[in-house]
Each structure stands twice: as structure tokens, then as C-alpha cells.
Symmetry: C2
Subunit: 294 residues, 2 copies
């Protein structure tokens, strides 16, 4: 067996997670690998210093982990991050026993935030500049939670007709098909959108046009981590949001059913009260809306 | 006056170009600043070694410039790049005298490629990792050529209604309004699209829906440099293209009138023969199609 790139790091189990996801995304093996990775990331981070950040985001405070007195991690939301490992354990045990509804949506959200941000911070510190691994880990976490909760498998490609005789695969982050007589889900999973949000509405538009009938339609859901940006020189955190562009997308490109964030920007939460309506919530609430989905 | 970041570099005139573009994008001052920058970039590069690259792109050969025996520039197409400074001079003098049609489309294309890639290579070597400055320079060059040729001014924002009472500005690379009874142009200008091409079709879709009438409609044009990617370890060049995704966009999102490249990928040129039809040409041909535009 080839030696893992991550041997002797806090995420030595990451390759096993990738394999387990590919084998069966909703398996118990994945739940336990997420727990083991979460614990080892939190253990690693618990030994590091924290640096307070100058938050330009109203009502939110952030810090970074500091490694070797030099490198600093991305910004971590103080209220959402839980260093007590019992929180992620309680959450993943509830996943395992199909008992998520015994937790509050805020508890679920904090546990998911902690799992995602602690993994991302470890990568920031041990493999600087690597954006892809944290993004893929977040996809794995969400894919596991959604397939496990909705009891369905994964399909990441959808065939789309380009002319009478030819079909082409459209590449999407995640597609869930809940079966006959039930809707299908088109789900984008991103650490942040920055100014690239239009892609998700464009993909949803393609699905709306390629599968217009009520029986075949896809419901669009976006799941994001945060929109924070850290200025490494000034130690300053801002949120990069384009709420007005999103309103244009929702009116003129396609209709997105829900947008969930682990650390939802207030500028996007405000869209709930504007037209056209865009429903933005913290991710934890997803698990209390699944009845509407099935 | 604040000292320019680029003082004592081959692009010391860059800030003046930015100012001149903002003042009057189609002015003679801009033509001459482009010439002076082009000459100083070519002079700087002419003293450097070149390294042959292993081209995985059929029928195209590439090299990189090498600086201080260590840093290498992005890939340069051998056939398109013209180190003889008379080529860019002839081109820009033809711009100045409104005599572009005395050149062939290939001459124009090579001159534009040389101006763009030489500036980008200088940035690669003196300010490694800076993607924004070469992208902005390419926008300036294209904006100058288009406004000068079409004798029009620039507008980069379009107002779009989101409800009965509210209008929002949609941010676009370039909008040209040729005046009453004439079409308007929505133009995207990118060094490369990679997998982000859907944004342009999405913006075009918004314009098609927000301005549906024949008198108000926008014609969509995409202008790109190249889709090459250099592997810095293997010295290998590939082209990253997603022609089948583009066919889906053209069928289901919106209709793009033309796509021009300075170094057009063959995978995109092939789209001219497929359905739905997407017309892809070398940028030099734009100047011989302007009658169709006006």
C-alpha cells in the first residue's frame, strides 16, 4: 500500500475517510472516521496558541490558531467553535443512532462547524495554501450527513441532452435521488462562494430546463461553510458577500430552495426579508426540515 | 504623488495606463502607453533565457522565460509570440490611424498575443503569484481596442430590476452601448476560464431576461487569452477545456454570439461543427466582423 501523504499528521485517517465515502457514503464506518479525525484535529489544536482577530463582522468574534510562532490558521468563529470533544462525539453518536432530533439545530450546527473548521485549520497550518483538501473534507461530511439522514445513495452526474441524439454528463457537487415519485436534489457544497455563486444558479437553471416536468424536477440546495476572509497582515476578518447579485440570480437565472451556512453571514440572512425571496438558514436547521424534503 | 509599486520595473508605465483608461479608454494616449509598455516588456524578456516546454497540446509548441536561473514564466506559444518589436509597433500605429484592415487577422492576433503574454510573463517573473495585474492589463488592452474600433464609450454596470420598485447594478467586465437603434454588447474578458465559464452564460441569461425586447437586447461576446496550464515540476503544458459543459450552457442557459481567443484551444474551435453551435475564433478576426456588430 502506498504511504499516505498525511502519515504522522493529525489527519492520518483522511485517506481512509476518502475510501470509505467512495465505498458507501452513509456507512457507520464513515461516522466513526469523522469522529476519529475530529478528535485528533481538536487534540492537535488544543496545544496551540490562539490569536485574537480584529473582527469587522458585526456581532461575531474570531480568532486564529498559531503554529510554530509564525503560521496562522483561517478565522474561527468563537461562538460556534467547541473545543470540548464531547460535543462532536455527542453529535456523531446521534447520527449513528438516527437520533439527531434529540439535539437542537444550534447544537448540530456547532458540532458541524467544529468538525469542518478544525480540519481546515489543521490543513492551513500543516499544508499551507492547500484549499482543496478542506473543501473536499467538507463535501465528505455533508455527503455523509445527507445520505445517512435521507437514507439514499449518491449520484454526482446528471445526463443532459444537447441534441436529438447526444447526452452529456453535467458535473455537479452532489445529486440525491430519493426514488420514484419523490423529488431529486441538486446540492452544491462549498467552503465559500466569494464572487462565484452564479455557477450554482446556472447549474440549477440547466436542470430546470433539461428536466422541466413536475415528476422529474430537481430541488436546489446550497450548503456553505462561511464567507470570511482573513487579512494576514492586519489580522482583520471581513465577510465577502454579494447579496444584491444573489437577488438578481434568484430572479433571472433559477430558483434555489434553500441556502444553508455553518457560519451564516448576516448580509445573506437579511435576504429572507427581501424580494425575490431567498431562504438562508444555519445548516443545523436542515435536519428539522427533512420532512419537507421527503 | 505616491510612488508607484512598479517604479524601476519594465512596467513602470502601468499606473499611467490605468489612469489613461479611466480618463478616456479610446484615447491616443492609451495607444502610446500600450506601445511603450509592450516595448519595455519585450526588451526585458529579450535578455532572458528560454526553456523549452513539453507540450501536450497537439500542433502547438510552448516555451517559458527563465529569470535568475530559477523562476519561470507562464507558457508562451512559439508561433504566436513575436519578439521583433516592429510587429507590435505596426499594429498599434494601425490602431492609431484607424487602419487595422490593412493588416491580416493573423497579424493582429499575433500582435495582441505578444502584447498580452509579454506583460503577463514580466509579472510572473517580477511579482510571482500575481494573477490580477495581468488579467487587468488584458482587460485594458481589449477595452481600448474595442472602444477605439467601435467609436464608443465604456459602461461596466447595467441596472436590473429585482422587483417593482428596486433596481440593482449587475457587475460585468465590459458593456458597450453603440447608441440608439443599435445593439448593446456584453463582453467578458478573461485570461482563462478554467471551469468558471458558466458565469458568463449566467450573466448573459440575466440580460436576456431583464432586457428581452429586440431594441434593448445585449449581444454576448467572450474574449480570452488561452487555456494553457503549466506544470512547474514537469515543465509540461496542457490545455484545460470543458467543451461539453459549454454545449450544455449554450443550450440551456443563454446564447453567446462569439467566443474569441488569442491562443484558441482546438477543443473549443471544434465546437463550430457541433450542436448547439458555438462560434469560436481567433481574436484577430473580430476586427473583420465589426460590420456585423454595428
Amino acid at each position: 500500500m502506498a504511504k499516505s501523504k498525511w502519515s504522522n499528521t493529525p489527519i492520518s485517517n483522511y485517506d481512509n475517510l476518502a475510501k470509505a465515502i467512495k465505498k458507501d457514503a452513509r456507512s457507520r464506518e464513515v461516522t466513526y472516521l469523522l469522529l476519529s479525525l475530529g478528535k485528533s484535529c481538536l487534540t492537535f489544536l488544543s496545544e496551540l496558541d490562539k490569536r485574537e482577530l480584529n473582527s469587522r463582522v458585526s456581532n461575531k468574534e474570531y480568532f486564529s490558531f498559531v503554529y510554530n510562532n509564525a503560521q496562522i490558521s483561517r478565522a474561527v468563529n468563537k461562538e460556534l467553535f467547541q473545543e470540548d470533544q464531547r460535543i462532536i462525539k455527542k453529535f456523531l453518536m446521534a447520527v449513528d443512532s438516527n437520533g439527531l432530533k434529540s439535539l437542537t439545530s444550534t447544537e448540530i450546527n456547532k458540532a458541524c462547524y467544529t468538525l469542518t473548521i478544525s480540519f481546515a485549520c489543521v490543513i492551513d497550518l500543516i499544508n499551507r495554501g492547500d484549499k482543496k483538501t478542506p473543501a473536499t473534507y467538507f463535501e465528505y461530511l455533508v455527503i455523509h450527513l445527507l445520505t445517512h439522514t435521507l437514507k439514499t445513495d449518491v449520484a454526482s452526474r446528471v445526463a443532459v441532452k444537447v441534441d436529438e441524439t447526444e447526452e452529456i454528463s453535467l458535473t455537479l457537487d452532489l445529486v440525491l435521488d430519493l426514488g420514484e415519485q419523490k423529488p431529486k436534489y441538486h446540492i452544491a457544497i462549498k467552503n465559500s462562494t466569494r464572487e462565484r455563486g452564479s455557477e450554482f444558479w446556472a447549474h440549477q437553471r440547466i436542470l430546470e430546463n433539461a428536466y422541466p416536468s413536475e415528476e422529474e424536477r430537481f430541488i436546489g440546495i446550497f450548503i456553505g461553510l462561511a464567507e470570511t476572509k482573513l487579512d494576514h497582515r492586519k489580522y482583520e476578518v471581513v465577510e465577502i458577500c454579494v447579496p444584491n447579485q444573489w437577488r438578481i440570480y434568484q430572479k433571472y437565472i433559477s430558483k434555489i430552495w434553500r441556502i444553508y451556512y455553518l457560519d451564516p453571514p448576516d448580509a445573506y440572512i437579511q435576504l429572507n426579508n427581501k424580494s425575490p425571496k431567498i431562504i438562508v438558514k444555519q445548516f443545523g436547521e436542515f435536519f428539522f426540515e427533512t420532512d419537507k424534503l421527503i
